[in-house]
């Protein structure tokens, strides 16, 4: 049964991928750009969800790693004559390194404190990028970054982003289904028992953070490819909060949920944003409606599945 569902969802995603590959031949240019933005954001949300959904680590400032990846690649392309592929590889590696450093500080702390320490460390990086005019262009950022010719056009960028996204999603799927991923989810569900059977809990969580930040950095590189610019808002905490909300919206205990959340928020910003500057008001109202009338839709039904083992919660929710 489970196997059949897996085959089915594999078929659906393969079909979807094929349609997206053909999309540039029948969609106008604006929609191609729009889809590329969704792909970048989706990869960012997916990478965050490795920590949040599968590891229950409150990674509150994931946007920083996106920004570090984008800034590293953007600066290397704009200010040095290094070959482009080196700049592209350096971005995710720098993000993963930042993830390792920040993770080593944060991992000792429990949930909310973990998130808060991460916000302050991330804000440090934001403040430096924001003020170091000589290197980063300060609050203006850097625009018109030279992108290699074969991906400089909208269609070229679209294909590049789509293919990288496809590869990353397969990798993330394999990671989550690997023994490492299972261990991570076991730690999420019961850290004490995992520690008791001899799993090094913190080492596993740190590994998850490094992997997630690596993919966050990949998303940052893709951002540079699509937009050709970098600016400090990429590192600001409101963006981090936004991607956190994407994970919650789409269902954070599901694999593909964050993609839906990202697509939803990016579409809202793009389409409602053209009619009114108050699109966040609409987002706020939609969120409140979801919280009141469709709480299962917000969290995904898996929320209950996770807590089913915790008898107190299960009886309390059934009694309602």
């Amino acid at each position: 049964m489970g196997n059949m569902i897996r085959q089915k969802s594999f078929g659906v995603s393969a079909g979807l991928f094929l349609i997206l590959l053909l999309a540039p031949s029948f969609l106008p240019r604006f929609y191609i750009y729009f889809l590329a933005v969704i792909f970048v954001t989706a990869l960012l949300a997916m990478s965050l969800n490795l920590c949040v959904g599968h590891g229950m680590l409150f990674q509150f400032h994931h946007g920083v790693f996106y920004g570090v990846g984008a800034y590293t690649t953007g600066l290397l392309l704009a200010k040095t004559s290094l070959p482009w592929w080196l700049a592209f590889v350096a971005g995710p590696l720098a993000a993963a390194f930042a993830g390792l450093l920040i993770g080593m500080f944060c991992i000792r702390l429990s949930r909310l404190y973990f998130g808060m320490l991460q916000i302050s460390l991330g804000s440090l990086i934001w403040a430096i990028a924001f003020r170091w005019y000589g290197l980063t262009g300060g609050d203006d950022g850097i625009h018109g970054i030279p992108i290699p010719d074969f991906i400089a056009s909208t269609t070229g960028a679209y294909y590049f982003v789509l293919i990288i996204l496809g590869i990353c999603l397969v990798l993330l799927y394999l990671i989550i289904k690997s023994p490492f991923g299972s261990t991570l989810q076991a730690i999420r569900d019961n850290p004490e028992r995992c520690a008791a059977v001899g799993i090094n809990v913190r080492r596993h969580q740190l590994k998850a953070i490094v992997i997630a930040t690596f993919f966050g950095g990949v998303a940052g590189v893709l951002f540079v490819v699509v937009e050709g610019s970098i600016f400090p808002d990429l590192l600001f905490w409101t963006l981090s909060l936004e991607i956190f909300i994407m994970c919650l919206l789409g269902g954070w205990f599901t694999f593909a949920g964050p993609i839906l959340g990202a697509a939803f928020i990016v579409s809202l910003r793009t389409f409602v944003g053209t009619y009114t500057e108050y699109w966040t008001l609409i987002l706020g109202i939609i969120l409140i409606l979801l919280i009141f009338f469709l709480p299962e839709g917000v969290m995904g039904y898996n929320y209950r599945k996770l807590f089913r083992s915790r008898t107190k919660y299960a009886t309390a929710s059934q009694a309602e």
Binding site: F105, R108, L109, S110, L112, Y113, M116, L117, I119, S120, L121, S123, L124, A127, I128, F130, R131, W132, F236, W237, T238, L241, I245, L248, E277, Y278, T280, L281, L283, G284, I285, L287, I288, I291, F292, P295, V298, M299
Partner: protein
């Protein structure tokens, strides 16, 4: 200062400037901490209420001619406007959600933050505004021959007053005691015939009132504009965390650390002054992972 020479006088004035900045931060964060301690809700909309307080203060002060009366009325009425907004939000929406999971409450306050931010933009627009302090508080006094704004002196007085008032309220009045009891065991408090829902509403409104007061107090010192909610809320959360969640005196300690490191940063390395408070938070949380003082959580 001049010629790279940092004198004792400059250090003490910098210290006082940091202290007065800390008082504003304290007034805002004590409200956040109060709500966090009693309702156990991290209220992301707190910064938006602070922003509304600042805008409301501007409007009220302008309405009454911008002079002395205008300012004092603004200081009195703007927090009440904010309290009213928060009361409506609480009774209409928030009070139905207390039984939900924490992340859901966080999501709700995020939605509230988005809505209040856009409503503020609709009502007041995206212009920069500033109001003048009353004539008695304008100008400078001289401390070691260096100018120090009189208004900051006023802040140095009002900060401790708010701290003492809040402390007396939560430890000496019946309402404060009930609120703290409801935080620990809401079922028991309900069982002895107290309407817990209204107790929570009251605590929420008190916390938001303090946000409004902070906004009204800060409005003469900065330019009031859209986006100030995003800056203050993150600072407030960090302060609450390094102080100890829900602990009022912790909010005081955290605000002092934040305000003073910020002003010394301006003295020593202006370009990267905004880095220092974050650095201080990192150091505190690395040394004491659960904050300086005892958390009520």
């Amino acid at each position: 200062m001049e010629g790279g020479q940092i004198t004792l006088a400059a250090l003490s004035v910098t210290f006082l400037v940091g202290l007065s900045r800390a008082m504003i931060l304290f007034i805002v964060t004590s409200g956040l901490s109060f709500v966090l301690g009693i309702l156990r809700v991290p209220n992301l909309a707190h910064g938006s209420l602070y922003m509304i307080g600042a805008f409301a203060a501007h409007s009220i002060a302008t309405l009454f001619g911008g002079g002395s009366t205008g300012f004092w009325l603004a200081l009195f009425l703007a927090p009440l406007v904010v309290a009213l907004v928060s009361l409506v939000a609480e009774r209409l929406l928030f009070c139905h959600l207390y039984e939900r999971e924490h992340l859901m409450l966080l999501l709700f306050t995020f939605a509230l933050m988005l809505i209040l931010g856009d409503l503020t933009k609709m009502v007041w627009g995206a212009d920069y505004r500033s109001i003048m302090p009353p004539p008695a508080l304008q100008g400078f006094i001289s401390i070691f021959d260096l100018p120090f704004p009189k208004y900051n002196l006023f802040l140095l007085v009002i900060g401790p007053l708010v701290a003492i008032g809040l402390w007396l309220f939560s430890t000496r009045t019946k309402m404060g005691k009930i609120a703290r009891a409801a935080a620990v065991d809401r079922e028991m408090v309900g069982a002895i015939g107290i309407n817990v829902s209204w107790v929570f509403a009251f605590a929420f409104v008190i916390g938001c009132l303090l946000a409004g007061l902070g906004g009204a107090l800060v409005s003469p010192t900065i330019s009031v504009t859209i986006g100030m909610d995003h800056n203050i809320i993150i600072e407030a959360f960090l302060i609450v965390t390094i102080g100890g969640l829900g602990n009022m005196w912790g909010a005081m300690v955290g605000s002092l650390i934040f305000g003073i490191t910020q002003s010394f940063g301006v003295l020593f390395w202006p370009q990267f002054a905004i880095v220092f408070p974050y650095l201080a938070v990192v150091i505190v949380l690395t040394l004491k992972p659960t904050g300086m003082l005892k958390s009520v959580w």
